[in-house]
């Protein structure tokens, strides 16, 4: 027991007292935040106001466009978009960019230009001249037959690549044309406003007890939890393999085996590395809970309606239990692989299947989030190999009955017992076999060797 503890301490300190652990612990949330926030920040840098000439001989579209692009309207739109985006944390990057651009309130200054009776070529020549002289930035030509299906609105711009400004302009233009068309169809302005109002859409989840709750926050939280477990299991599994391969490669195994039982050594390694993983996760989770708490409180205070995902201490306990189950399943597989191979590169090839299983488990968590009580979700969240990721996700999305959680723990506990036994059989022999990678029949022989 004393030797086992010595191994645990050694493995734990080896990971936790390294700079990389500190950096990784700090950096991971930072990188995750970067992915979510940086594009929004970059695109929130306002461009300069676009000076634009609108050439509209019909004089029907230009006034509406000007109204749509007035500073008040733009501010209104921006605020609405901001509220949407808070709810929409799981939107794709493209959607985020788009909503980002809507929040911007890109501004336009309308320059006057008297077209008179000049021909279109003449006008374009003059306006191009103005652009070159930097008097204006762009001009828009509204076709006289704008109601035609293939009428083209043409924008000539000094900065045609400014898609944020273009996007704002396009939206405003669309709205202007649509309302003009409706006006042409004899629908009053007031009626028009009424008709084009957006619906309010709020998804509320009803749990088994009939309580309602908002679903947005939960979706995001479950996804993060699933991802955290997936990444931590993959990283720490690899660490186990690295540690095993190092001891084999450097022949330290020979000294270790002459000092302690192989089972003690392997279990000490699994427990030590597992505790290191737990430490990192605990740091992340506690700081995430604190940060999310603060952030949500601030958002609510500023009037944005968000629901705080209802995470109970019991959920956190379950979360750690399932992390540990997952850790021992994958760590023993990685330890087994490490003692079969002669280098990390070789190990990488063998590690592909377990990493694949892990990834599939992560993808299954999407199905679980969408419908936590489906038959698929039930089986997937108790299945060995998958449950460590899918069950915590399910617990967050919708607390399953206790017996299902217990069943998942028992099934995966049994899987661990089997895998640890298997891994220790292979470890005890494989660690002393140098020179070449073991074949599957050889490994089978090692397992059966007394």
């Amino acid at each position: 027991m004393r030797k086992f503890l010595a191994v645990v301490k050694h493995e734990y300190k080896k990971i936790v007292l390294k700079w990389t652990f500190l950096i990784g612990t700090l950096l991971f949330p930072f990188i995750a935040a970067m992915f979510a926030v940086v594009p929004a920040i970059i695109f929130s840098i306002k461009g300069e106001a676009t000076r634009i000439v609108v050439l509209d001989r019909t004089n029907k579209i230009a006034p509406r466009l000007k109204a749509n692009l007035s500073p008040e309207r733009i501010a209104e739109r921006a605020e609405k978009a901001a509220k949407e985006s808070v709810k929409n944390l799981n939107a794709s990057q493209e959607e985020k960019l788009k909503s980002g651009s809507e929040q911007l309130g890109e501004s336009f200054i309308f320059a006057d230009y008297d077209a008179g009776a000049k021909s279109i070529e003449q006008i374009r020549g003059e306006l191009n001249g103005k652009i070159t002289a930097a008097e204006i930035d762009a001009y828009l030509i509204v076709p006289p037959d704008f109601d035609n299906a293939d009428a083209k609105f043409e924008l000539f711009s000094r900065k045609a690549g400014d898609f944020i400004a273009n996007d704002t302009l396009k939206d405003a233009l669309n709205e202007a044309v649509r309302s003009q068309r409706l006006a042409d169809a004899n629908i009053s302005e007031a009626r028009l406003k009424e008709l084009s109002r957006n619906v309010e859409f709020v998804a509320r989840q009803v749990d088994e007890k009939g309580n309602e709750k908002d679903s947005d926050g939960l979706f995001f939280a479950s996804l993060i939890i699933g991802m955290m477990i997936y990444i931590t299991l993959a990283i720490y599994g690899n660490m186990i393999m690295g540690a095993v391969v190092e001891e084999k490669e450097t022949r330290i195994a020979e000294i270790l085996f002459s000092s302690a039982k192989p089972f003690e050594l392997m279990m000490g390694k699994l427990v030590g590395v597992g505790l290191a993983g737990l430490t990192q996760l605990a740091i992340w989770i506690i700081s995430a809970l604190v940060l999310v708490g603060i952030g949500m409180a601030q958002l609510s205070a500023s009037g944005v309606a968000v629901s705080i995902p209802n995470i109970t201490p019991l959920m956190v306990i379950y979360f750690f239990i399932f992390f540990l189950l997952g850790f021992f399943i994958y760590a023993s597989i990685f330890a087994l692989i490490g003692s079969m191979v002669t280098s990390m590169q070789e190990g990488g090839q063998f590690a592909f299947p377990p990493v694949m299983i892990l990834l599939i488990g992560f993808y299954f968590s999407f199905a679980v989030i969408r419908d936590p009580n489906s038959t698929l979700s039930f089986w997937i969240s108790i299945a060995p190999f998958f449950a460590p990721i899918t069950m915590p996700v399910r617990i967050l999305a919708e607390m399953p009955p206790f017996w299902q959680i217990l069943l998942a723990i028992l099934i995966n506990g049994a899987a661990i017992t089997g895998l640890v036994w298997l891994a220790s059989r292979v470890y005890r022999v494989g660690m002393l076999m140098y020179g070449k990678r073991a074949t599957i029949p050889e490994v089978w022989k090692w397992i059966r060797q007394k």
Partner: protein
């Protein structure tokens, strides 16, 4: 412990890997306070035997007794093993590695720290204590490895090729340390290919080949049993006598003398007499013991045949 205490008893031990017997029916005793030379060519079964002694693997048949008891895991704490294939954690500080290896032998940390300082100073490695393995030269790593073998003050020291990679000064130094252990009545099993070193250090010899025992005994006994048919000769004349196949089986020419292997049933005294009678002027005529190297080569070739 007296000279007669048996530290290690190997009794009819066999170890098989599939159909191949790496060690077959091997028996020997190692006594306390002796340096035991465990010799044999590559693949003879030395490493397999040592691994069974230190408890890395178990014998298929036969038994191993250490310090008069059947082997148990606890006895590992009394053994210091320096494997031939050595290794340290590459990116770990020397002090941390040594602490870990000591902890695995159940040495309390305070005690371990004292001994680590003592040994690092003794090996002139004091200033490398907080450096990583990769910062050390090969020879230094070798010495660190040796320290890890003796930190728990073992009663049985098993050294597999301890001198490889060391410069002559460090070889002498290590020999001093080994002799010191010997005077403390500790037992040293010493496995090597270097017959000269073995001859110098070992009080007992075990030679194995092809999984089996070939020669065993004290160094003295072994050499004496082979020491009757070799003669070192420096002489002028008498060439005719040397060609007589009934007297001499083989001649090995050295720079300024000849090494003669007597023919079967030939007598050294008769050879000397014949040489003088044939007018040879003799400046050296010495009956010599064969070197361990000679015995090694001869016996290995015999058992291979």
């Amino acid at each position: 412990m007296s000279e007669q205490n048996v530290t290690l008893r190997v009794e009819n031990v066999t170890k098989r890997f599939g159909d191949f017997a790496a060690v077959e029916d091997l028996s020997f005793d190692v006594k306390a306070g002796r340096v035991f030379g465990f010799l044999g060519p590559n693949g003879a079964g030395k490493t397999t035997t040592i691994r069974m002694i230190v408890g890395i693997t178990a014998p298929d048949e036969g038994k191993i007794e250490l310090f008069g008891k059947d082997f148990t895991g606890d006895l590992q704490n009394r053994i210091g093993y320096l494997p031939e294939e050595r290794g340290l954690y590459k990116k770990m500080k020397i002090i941390d590695q040594l602490r870990y290896f000591a902890a695995l032998k159940n040495v309390p940390q305070g005690e371990a720290d004292k001994r680590i300082d003592f040994w690092l100073e003794r090996m002139n490695l004091g200033e490398w204590k907080r450096k990583k393995t990769t910062d050390l030269s090969k020879g230094m790593q070798q010495k660190v490895q040796f320290i890890s073998t003796v930190l728990h003050n073992p009663d049985l020291l098993i050294l597999d090729e301890p001198f490889s990679g060391l410069d002559p000064i460090n070889v002498e130094f290590l020999i001093d340390v080994i002799s010191e252990f010997k005077t403390q009545d500790k037992t040293i099993i010493f496995s090597t290919h270097l017959m000269e070193t073995a001859e110098r250090l070992c009080s007992d010899i075990l030679l194995i080949n092809k999984s089996r025992k070939v020669v065993a005994g004290t160094l003295r006994e072994v050499k004496q049993s082979y020491g009757k048919n070799l003669i070192a000769l420096r002489a002028d004349g008498g060439e005719k006598v040397l060609e007589d196949k009934t007297l001499i089986a083989k001649i090995v020419e050295h720079a300024d003398e000849k090494e003669l292997v007597l023919a079967e049933n030939a007598d050294a005294q008769i050879l000397l007499k014949t040489l003088i009678e044939n007018g040879a002027s003799i400046s050296k005529f010495e009956q010599i013991e064969p070197s361990l190297n000679d015995i090694f080569i001869e016996r290995i070739n015999e058992t291979n045949a």
